[in-house]
């Protein structure tokens, strides 16, 4: 009948059960050096990054389709019933550029903060096995709260977008005023929704740090979210560029 292979053996010295024992870092294999049974965070990180890349493809497709609709609509003439001719009815939107530039800067800084948060926790995760050696101290304090900074700045961006929408309304551009204004609201709102999702995940990452989840597990979450965050920044640059240069 079927022959099953024997389980793949991982070449690591087992120095006792439970946490807290002295163990050397892992070499090769898939293990993380703590012996069979504990999760392989390296593989988990790889898998989540892969999943993120795949997921971002679908987000890209949403914005590709919206872009296509935008560009085509901008160039599309519409039939004027009375004169029986085709006329272009695209009204460029009077964008509050200064406000949007401020928001862009906020998001840029938040992206920098997110990257610093990512590197910070990567270092903490790498040093975790050493920290578990009794009597060893690395002399580091809690470190600058880069994660919290990202959340605050991201929230600031969303507030700034809200103010920008109010400004647009004051200038007479509401959602249904013109095709161009509809797209401005649609593109920026869709981005904002995705950004808000990122903020929720960051809040979750901050919250679990209070629940004493292993730093390696938290690192995976923060790493992947930081990459998502960078994508959201680049996406915003793209949308801003589209709305400005393809007015």
């Amino acid at each position: 009948m079927a022959t099953l292979s024997s389980p793949v053996s991982i070449d690591v010295a087992k120095t006792g059960q439970g946490g807290g024992g002295v163990r050397p870092p892992a070499y090769g294999g898939g293990g993380d050096g703590r012996g069979d049974g504990s999760p392989d965070y390296g593989a988990r990180l790889r898998r989540l990054r892969l999943g993120l890349a795949i997921g971002l493809t679908s987000v890209t497709m949403i914005f590709v389709s919206l872009t296509s609709a935008y560009v085509v609509r901008r160039g599309l003439p519409t039939l004027d019933e009375r004169t029986n001719t085709y006329v272009r009815d695209w009204i460029p939107v009077d964008l509050p550029i200064t406000l949007l530039l401020v928001n862009t800067t906020l998001l840029l800084v938040s992206s920098i903060a997110a990257e610093l948060a990512r590197r910070q926790i990567t270092r903490q995760a790498a040093l975790a096995p050493i920290r578990s050696i009794p009597g060893v101290s690395l002399g580091e304090g809690k470190g600058f709260p880069w994660l919290g900074t990202t959340v605050v700045l991201g929230g600031g961006f969303l507030v700034g977008q809200w103010i920008a929408w109010r400004e647009l309304a004051d200038r007479g551009f509401y959602v249904a005023t013109s095709a161009s204004s509809s797209f401005v609201y649609l593109l920026t709102a869709t981005h904002a929704v995705h950004l808000a999702g990122g903020i929720l995940v960051l809040l979750y990452a901050s919250a679990v740090s209070l629940l004493h989840t292993p730093v390696e597990a938290r690192r995976v979450v923060v790493d992947v979210t930081a990459w998502y965050w960078h994508f959201m920044f680049l996406l915003w640059l793209y949308i801003f560029g589209l709305l400005w240069f393809v007015r």
Binding site: T78, L79, E81, R82, T83, N84
Partner: protein, 268 residues
């Protein structure tokens, strides 16, 4: 079971093919200049596809019976395939499909790439929930202005289209619910829709085109036989879609002119 499968598959194939060959239910009699071309391309396609259909189903039925497990008498021919055969039948299929398509392209081009002739009869066809209206520009040859604000479907004809009678060009426009065309002359259609997408479908003219709100679509065809031809709506437009039909009457040039004169007179 192998024999039963062969019998069922071959029977289904035979019956299906029979009704195609016998043309028991077929394309209605065509009466336009495009009919011979379209019908020829149709025939070419269905003969070629028919051959493939019979061959494929026939082979399927045959193989499941021929290669049934007969116990120790059966021997499997272990093989992962045959690359040369793959290349050959892929190439043949590509040539068949693409060739067929390219053969039909000149017909499409002549129907749709070229604008209407200069001496064609201009008719504007407007679809709305749930009727077709036909507008003739009258002696001035110009379609007058329509205004959405003036549209009143319950009043029919001119009012349904919102014809703006203050426009001089509109004064001689004739709007009817029945389409009249002179035989052997090309008609220059302008297709419009007032509310949702409709589709102007005259099976016997081998003609179909969606009428889209916000667009004025120009198309043409040439009827070749005098007669009455039913018009059906061919794009779901609401609860009355099934009864949004009209009638095309193709008459001699004389009768057409007479009819138009009568209609103009009625407007006074």
């Amino acid at each position: 079971m192998g024999l039963a499968l062969l019998a069922i598959i071959w029977l289904i194939t035979f019956v299906s093919t029979y009704f195609f060959v016998a043309q028991t239910w077929w394309l209605p009699h065509g009466a336009s200049t495009s009919t011979p071309w379209i019908d020829h391309q149709f025939a070419l396609t269905y003969v070629l596809m028919g051959i493939v259909f019979v061959a494929a189903q026939g082979a399927l039925g045959l193989f499941v019976w021929q290669y049934r497990d007969r116990g120790s008498a059966s021997k499997v021919t272990y093989s992962h395939g045959n690359t040369r055969m793959e290349v050959v039948w892929t190439a043949l299929t590509a040539i068949l499909f693409i060739g067929l398509n390219l053969m039909g392209s000149p017909i499409w081009a002549s129907e749709r790439f070229a604008p209407a002739d200069a001496d064609s009869v201009p008719v504007e066809v407007t679809g709305m929930q749930f009727a077709w209206y036909f507008r003739y520009p009258g002696p001035d040859g110009k379609f007058g202005r329509t205004d959405p604000k003036l549209m009143d479907p319950s009043a029919g004809n001119e009012a349904a289209l919102g014809l703006d009678t203050t426009d001089p060009a509109a004064k001689d426009d004739v709007v009817t619910g029945t389409m009249y065309l002179p035989v052997n002359r090309q008609v220059n259609l302008t297709l419009r829709a007032v509310d949702v997408i409709h589709s102007f479908f005259v099976p016997q003219m081998r003609f179909k085109q969606d009428a889209v709100p916000g667009l004025a679509i120009h198309m043409h065809f040439t009827p070749t036989e005098v007669g009455d031809y039913e018009i059906a709506c061919a794009e779901l437009c609401g609860l009355g879609h099934y009864k949004m039909h009209g009638m095309l009457k193709v008459v001699s040039q004389e009768d057409f002119d007479k009819w138009l004169v009568t209609k103009e007179a009625e407007k006074q």
